[in-house]
């Protein structure tokens, strides 16, 4: 079993897929609601304090907006902990959504900087055919992780 960082980190669908294929998803599971009544689309599930953006200074300089640093305080440790990652680019809001585009750039960059871990970088499908290929790619990626971790176990 591998720890798989998922992007968008709020994607319940992605989180569920990772779990079904026997791995541990690293994300912040928030149901994307049909009607949005919270301050943001990815309102944090826990009470954040002004201390969090300060913790985020580990990942982004003080000149970076506080909202980015606060988010990085959540996602940064998950990226560090990850043994693999799945990035879905340009996904639909309903699939899973992160509120801040600047954070998204930094999150994806931070994942890609971890060259020693396998990363699946996919675009969100636009039709059914692409959708099937999309699911297949994720399945194959997760399967390959199982094999690798299995190999490690044998060693």
């Amino acid at each position: 079993m591998s720890k798989v960082f998922i992007y968008p980190s709020t994607s319940l669908i992605l989180s569920d897929m990772v779990e079904r294929f026997g791995h541990e998803p690293l994300g912040v599971a928030i149901a994307i609601r049909e009607r949005i009544q919270t301050p943001g689309l990815d309102s944090p599930p826990l009470q954040m304090t002004p201390e969090d953006p300060k913790k985020g200074l580990k990942y982004a300089a003080v000149e970076v907006p506080s909202g980015v640093r606060g988010r990085m305080a959540l996602f940064g440790p998950l990226i560090e902990e990850a043994e693999a990652a799945i990035i879905i680019n340009d996904s639909d809001l309903a699939f899973g959504c992160m509120g801040c585009s600047r954070t998204n750039e930094l999150v994806k960059f931070s994942v890609r900087q971890r060259k020693e871990i396998p990363v699946l970088d996919l675009n969100y499908p636009s039709d059914e055919e692409e959708g099937l290929a999309f699911v297949q790619s994720i399945k194959e990626f997760l399967d390959s992780l199982t094999k690798k971790s299995g190999d490690r176990k044998e060693v």
Binding site: I32, R33, E34, R35, I36, Q37, T38, P39, G40, L41, D42, S43, P44, Q47, M48, T49, P50, E51, D52, P53, K54, E63, V64, P65, S66, G67, V68, R69, G70, R71, L74, L93, A94, C97, M98, G99, C100, S101, R102
Partner: protein, 414 residues
């Protein structure tokens, strides 16, 4: 305020929760009997809303803010006022924030205030803005007052100076002014002066209004009928004294601690900005300049009018470095007049760059507050805005006059 329905303030924002400041926004709202809420929009409508709006924001929370703004303008969600807040230093958010503010103001009658926060933003910082927002939303009848009636007293407890004005039947009959030391002591001093000049006793006063930083303390002490933040009071006082109660105007008040730029429509503030990144953009820098030049602050204005600001490079983005360039200029042999003029230009530039960008400048531009008496500063601001600035009589007493004017609305209630 107790017993009144809370003012429902719609929040359009990006980043306050992750910055840890959402709690501060709630706290500031609660202090002025306002209730924050998030306009309910359907996920499916967000894409359509921001495509309709035409601004290609990348951040999903900014798209959500656009959809919420459209819901408010369309009337599918009802609110009394709008608070737009995004992260400081985010250029994408700054563009969206400004365009949403403009969009709501041009297409609805909702008062709007916008603010860019950091994780250091506290409820106290937001309080004056939130208070102004709720006042505009709930007390339009009070702000519609155009004439002062009866015998009223207005006290403005500012960070640098405390002012008082006694008004009788639409005329100023007594004034008092002193540098602020103890809040209550300074207020007592100026009230005594104003009453003496007016030739009346405090017991004869029919209504009292207080404003400025010390407004609550003084308001409690003198049992004021109206305790009101300076944004609405000053804009009311400014258009009243300038004879511009109808139509558009812009009020600029460069204070000792912070600056206000207020876009006014029929005497009621529309948008406003408040604050200053550094004391270098405030009256405090001019006080320091006067001290360094060995003159009284009252002499700085006339001296600056004799000088040429372009002869001296000066940038008071930071008061420490601004003072440094002031000292350097004098050491290089520049005249005091040129240095005084450069200091005025620098403060005007800082206010222009940091604050006036967020307010739609509408003529006439009215400068008020103590710094409006510094002619050199008024001239430099006029040059920057390319307009003739109006400085009304009693401009340094603007908060007191506004308070005295508005408090007369309470006479009938007694």
């Amino acid at each position: 305020m107790n017993g009144e329905q809370p003012v429902r303030v719609a929040q359009l924002s990006c980043g306050p929760e992750h910055s840890g400041v959402q709690k501060e926004i709630y706290e500031a709202a609660a202090m002025v009997n306002a209730e924050m809420f998030f306009p309910d929009v359907a996920l499916a409508d967000i894409k359509k809303a921001y495509l309709d709006f035409g601004l290609e924001a990348k951040s999903a929370d900014l798209k959500l803010a656009i959809a919420r703004a459209k819901a408010l303008v369309d009337g599918s969600v009802e609110a009394d006022a709008v608070f737009i807040a995004t992260c400081f230093r985010c250029s994408e958010a700054a563009i969206v924030r400004n365009e949403l503010r403009r969009y709501i103001l041009n297409n609805s009658s909702l008062p709007v205030v916008s603010y860019s926060f950091t994780e250091r933003t506290k409820a106290g910082t937001l309080l004056t803005r939130m208070e102004a927002l709720t006042t505009i939303a709930k007390r339009r009848a009070l702000l519609a007052r155009e004439k002062q009636v009866g015998l009223t007293l207005g006290v403005d407890s500012g960070s640098s100076t405390t002012k008082a004005v006694v008004m009788k039947n639409d005329e100023i009959i007594g004034t008092g002014w002193t540098p602020t030391t103890g809040v209550i002591d300074s207020a007592e001093t100026v009230i005594t002066s104003a009453l003496e000049e007016a030739g009346i006793k405090l017991s004869e006063i029919e209504a009292i209004g207080t404003t400025g930083y010390g407004r609550y303390l003084i308001g409690d002490k003198f049992k004021a009928d109206l305790i009101q933040e300076e944004l609405t009071v000053n804009s009311k006082g400014a258009v009243y004294l300038a004879g511009q109660q109808h139509g558009e105007a812009t009020v600029i008040d460069i204070g000792g601690m912070d600056n206000k730029a207020i876009s006014v429509q029929d005497g009621i503030p529309g948008t406003f900005t408040m604050g200053g990144i550094c004391a270098g953009a405030s009256g405090r820098f001019l006080e320091m300049t006067a001290k360094r030049l060995g003159i009284e602050i009252t002499e700085l204005g006339p001296l600056a009018m004799e000088g040429f600001s372009k002869n001296v490079p000066m940038n008071s983005y930071c008061i420490v470095f601004g003072t440094q360039s002031l000292v350097n200029a004098l050491a290089e042999g520049h005249s005091k007049a040129d240095v005084a003029a450069a200091a005025c230009r620098s403060v005007a530039e800082q206010v222009f760059e940091q604050q006036l960008q967020e307010v739609d400048i509408k003529e006439p531009v009215i400068m008020v507050g103590g710094t409006s008496l510094i002619e050199g500063l008024v001239r430099e601001m006029g040059r920057l805005l390319q307009t003739e600035i109006v400085v009304p009589p009693y401009s340094q007493f603007i908060g007191s006059v506004g308070s005295a004017l508005l408090s007369s609305g309470f006479i009938g209630d007694k």
